[in-house]
């Protein structure tokens, strides 16, 4: 029994002051209870035919005060950006301005239907066009498809445009090159489109060489999917040369824009030779992550791919909604989602961009990069920087060499950070270094905040080296839960609530 549990056992309720345990709604709600006063319907003749519901739903309800308390209590068991530093590498957990929330909730944006006559929504179309033009100017690209619902769907959109462009040339190319450091969504996207995925090994310095790409090139290669800055936190120094080689081989350059936050206002992907790149509005442009979504993944396209953009797209001021309405060389590859994509996220991103402006966006990237390098410089003597020879971009990658012979793993180290009041960094990703720890502070942290984070990590690194093992292996001790048994969860998954079995059954 841990120290934490012993303290808990001293209270009658199991609660600890502000830390209150909360059961599931299925354990506290009742099917006959409701927190909404719905008027009684007038008498009417049912048109449900024989299909009126006969099966009970079994959905418990709670009154409004009970509902409020239930979800407020649950919220307090979450870490959040608004609580503290959230250094998840490649996730860009920056401040989420509340102005953006307010703007997205204006009735003129939040309470409009996607299929209203377009004549009734000129402001919505204006917002979409304005966002498009900002994204194109930042990236130096030719066209944009706003509709992808998240980064992975943006990848799908970009790769489908590439597939359509290749088909339009009458070619068949079945292979996509993906460096081993790529996000899992890259190979998953390529495979979902029926491509064979071929890996490219990075050099010892964490970057991809143009020679390694050339070795794999041939008439069978459709595209390369390259994240730049890459997931080791490095700018690919040969990106432009790789683009040239790819284009020379008749293939396309998909740039994963997950790490765009490092280079806004500094490098335009179009000038590097990128043909398609998705932009995670929920990373770079600060639409809130919301516990895992919703995201938004507009994809920008080069001139070569622009004709293949999916519907809906803008032709001048006109919104083209149907593939059948394509004209004049437009060859949309189809439709990725009903309606027009994540309008609520477009508004938030637009508010963010307008607040920053040209200078502010560039400053954000510079501060993000500066902060990551400051962390790197401040920890390099105690923790092992995976690729020390190149400047980091907006995130810095450590590996677990500094924990050698301590009996402490990257996972243990991460959990000890929880006890210090921080969200852990991204762990065990990218896969190219052992025990990866990828730290991305973003531009939202003050110097004081960075310094206390650095001091805490230094203290942890020294504790690990002097053998204070329990601080790590027992961690977290002060979180709402101690380590969860994730393998048990996977072996016999319990994915929905089921009322307790009678005692005899449960005693097996």
């Amino acid at each position: 029994m841990g120290e934490n549990e012993m303290a808990a056992s001293k209270t009658f309720t199991g609660n600890q002051a502000l830390r209150i345990q909360e059961p599931l709604i299925f354990e506290v709600g009742h099917n006959g209870q409701t927190g909404v006063d719905v008027p009684e319907p007038a008498a009417h003749t049912s048109r449900l035919g024989a299909l009126g519901r006969k099966t009970p739903i079994d959905l418990p309800g709670l009154t409004e005060p009970e509902t409020m308390r239930h979800y407020v209590r649950l919220s307090r068991q979450n870490y959040a950006i608004d609580l503290g530093l959230y250094p998840l590498g490649s996730c860009t957990m920056k401040h989420n301005p509340r102005l953006n929330e307010k703007m997205a909730r204006l009735p003129g944006f939040g309470d409009i239907h996607p299929l209203q006559p377009l004549s009734t929504v000129p402001g919505a179309l204006e917002l979409m066009k304005t966002l498009s033009s900002w994204l194109l100017k930042m990236t130096d690209m030719k066209a944009v498809a706003l509709s992808p619902k998240a980064g992975a769907q943006g990848e799908l959109a970009g790769m489908m445009a590439i597939r359509a462009a290749i088909a339009a040339k009458g070619e068949t190319r079945g292979t996509v090159l993906v460096p081993e450091s790529a996000h899992g969504t890259n190979p998953a996207t390529a495979a979902a489109l029926g491509y064979k995925v071929e890996g490219i090994k990075a050099r010892a310095d964490g970057t991809v060489s143009v020679e390694a790409v050339k070795e794999k090139l041939g008439p069978h290669v459709a595209a390369i999917m390259l994240t730049n800055p890459n997931t080791c936190g490095l700018f690919e120094p040969e990106a432009a040369a790789i683009a040239d080689a790819i284009h020379e081989a008749g293939a396309y350059f998909y740039g994963d824009g997950a790490n765009f936050n490092a280079i806004v206002g500094k490098v335009k992907p179009g000038s590097i030779g990128v043909d398609a790149m998705h932009i995670n509005l929920h990373k770079t442009f600060s639409t809130p992550h919301g516990g895992g979504g919703p995201g938004s993944g507009p994809v920008v396209l080069s001139e070569r791919l622009a004709p293949f953009a999916p519907v809906p797209f803008f032709r001048g001021d006109e919104l083209v909604e149907r593939v059948e309405d394509a004209a004049g060389g437009e060859m949309p590859f189809g439709r990725l989602t009903a309606f027009h994509g994540q309008m609520g996220m477009y508004v938030r991103a637009m508010a963010y961009m307008m607040s920053h402006g040209s200078d502010g966006l560039k400053q954000a990237s510079e501060d993000a990069v500066l902060s990551a390098n400051y962390i790197k410089a401040s920890l390099a003597d105690l923790m092992s920087v995976a690729f020390p020879d190149r400047p980091a971009m907006h995130e810095v990658l450590f590996d677990d060499r500094f924990l050698k012979d301590t009996g402490i793993t990257t996972l243990d180290f991460a959990k000890a950070m929880i006890d210090e009041g921080f969200h852990p960094m991204t762990m065990y990703f990218p896969l190219v270094v052992p025990g990866a720890m990828l730290i991305e502070p973003t531009e939202s942290e003050s110097l004081a905040s960075l310094d206390i984070f650095i001091a805490a990590l230094r203290d942890l690194a020294m504790a690990a080296k002097r053998g204070d093992t329990e601080r790590f292996t027992e961690a977290p001790r002060y979180a709402p839960r101690r380590r969860l048994d994730e393998t048990k969860g996977a072996r016999k998954p319990v994915l929905t609530y089921e009322a307790p079995q009678p005692v005899l059954d449960a005693a097996e």
């Binding site: 209870q33 319907p41 048109r47 239907h113």
Partner: protein
């Protein structure tokens, strides 16, 4: 810039610590000539007041659904969302947290997702549900691909009652699958069973259909199962399941739908929340995240993401889907609203929606507008005299959003059809205005 805590002095100190003279030294790896030194051709940053003023002006150019009589549905529904819902989803701990990979400090999100999964499973009459997809249309495409994996067959039979944009999304996204697309079925009389054969992986049916007809899934499920195929059931209005027999009770193998109608605003089409439910035996082929119950090191009940060996961040090119981000915050809104409703509130809300739709249909019929549906929940199709799109456009100019001219989405359908939806927000005055716009 009000969002950037670092000062010029801080930056100088940090550069010194790093041991460089200028920020651009950190961009040394950018190929020669590619580092952009000019300011971007974009406006300067603006104050909160200025941004609010500019965006509010843009928003005011739009006719909001609440500005007048409103009868649009067709996959997105205007319902009342209790104030509690929007307050709670803006709690910092929900709004500004990431995917709950660090379970010990993400129990709030994980328990919400577990509650969401349970609610969705019970609502649809299925055994398990995932922690949400992007929206109903993408969930439908994922369901088709899942059915193809499960049956190892390559053909999907798609009903003509499905939302035309859902049909387009399925056709675009479901790589490696061929389709037998039934023609648009505005009368609700198609014989989808006749299209099922031994190559069929799944038959995809929407009920209530895009045109509002309720479909008895039982004979379709029976025929599909006899042919070794699966039934994928689609819905776009979750409130309907408060009043109609759930797909799970009628033999569906995979149920997908749009959850927007509970807890979420119209938002011009997104973000919404895709619901995805199936049976326990198919769970390992299901796409998307799952929250599962487990215990912590002290034996306390807790929740963690589970079965992630299906997912892209572990399986990479062998994953069941490339999906990563889900629709967590919209799922939270759904769950809170559903908790407020409970079975009692949902049943009442569904009954009220149905009654409002009946009142609308009856009023239109009395005015001589032809209603095509024998059955419907809160949405039905009418035939008007002349061009439906022109009529809807004219009504809009008078402040009435009269429904969807079907031809806007499906050029193969007749030009005189309008899909009309009513909800609990529809008043008798609204109905009178609609009748005025569509009669004659």
């Amino acid at each position: 810039m009000r969002y950037h805590p670092l000062t010029a002095d801080d930056r100088a100190l940090m550069l010194k610590k790093i041991g460089i003279g200028a920020i651009d030294d950190l961009f040394a790896d950018v190929p020669a000539g590619k580092l952009f030194t000019e300011p971007m051709d974009l406006p300067a940053g603006q104050s909160e007041i200025a941004v609010e003023r500019a965006l509010s002006a843009m928003a005011r150019k739009n006719h909001a659904a609440g500005d007048g009589p409103f009868f649009l549905g067709a996959g997105a529904y205007r319902h009342h969302v209790p104030a509690t819902v929007d307050h709670l989803i803006q709690r910092s701990e929900f709004l500004t947290s990431y995917t709950p990979y660090q379970a010990e400090i993400s129990q709030g999100t994980l328990q919400v997702l577990f509650e969401f999964q349970t609610q969705v499973a019970r609502l649809t009459g299925m055994e398990v549900a995932n922690a949400s997809m992007y929206d109903g249309s993408t969930a439908a495409a994922e369901a088709v691909m899942m059915a193809a994996r499960l049956t190892k067959r390559g053909k999907a039979v798609v009903s003509g009652g499905i939302h035309p944009q859902y049909r387009d999304v399925i056709a675009t996204v479901s790589t490696g699958v061929t389709f037998d697309m039934a023609p648009a079925d505005w009368t609700g009389t198609e014989d989808i069973v006749a299209r099922i054969d031994k190559d069929t992986a799944c038959v995809v049916v929407q009920s209530p259909s895009f045109y509002g007809h309720l479909v008895d899934l039982r004979p379709i499920a029976k025929a599909a199962h006899e042919a070794g195929a699966l039934l994928v059931s689609v819905f776009t209005e979750p409130v309907a399941l408060g009043a109609i027999e759930p797909p799970g009770a009628m033999g569906a193998d995979i149920v997908v739908g749009e959850g927007q109608g509970i807890g979420n605003s119209l938002n011009f089409g997104g973000p919404y929340v895709g619901l995805f439910a199936t049976t326990k035996k198919h769970v390992r082929q299901m796409p998307g995240r799952l929250s599962g119950e487990t215990t912590d090191a002290d034996g306390k009940r807790g929740f963690a993401l589970t079965l992630s060996t299906r997912e892209q961040h572990i399986r990479r090119d062998k994953a069941t889907s490339n999906i990563c981000t889900n629709s967590g915050l919209c799922a939270l809104a759904f769950t809170i609203h559903m908790t407020l409703l409970g079975e009692k509130g949902l049943s009442r809300l569904a009954a009220l929606n149905h009654e409002r739709a009946c009142a609308t249909a009856d009023a239109l019929a009395r005015a001589g507008v032809e209603v095509l549906n024998e059955t419907f929940f809160n949405e039905f199709t009418v035939r008007v005299k002349g061009d439906a799109a022109a009529r809807v456009e004219k009504a809009a100019s008078e402040g009435i959003i009269a429904g969807l001219p079907v031809s806007r989405l499906d050029p193969s359908a007749p030009g005189d059809l309008i899909v009309v939806a009513a909800t609990e927000l529809t008043t008798d005055d609204d109905i009178a205005a609609l009748v005025g716009a569509l009669e004659g």
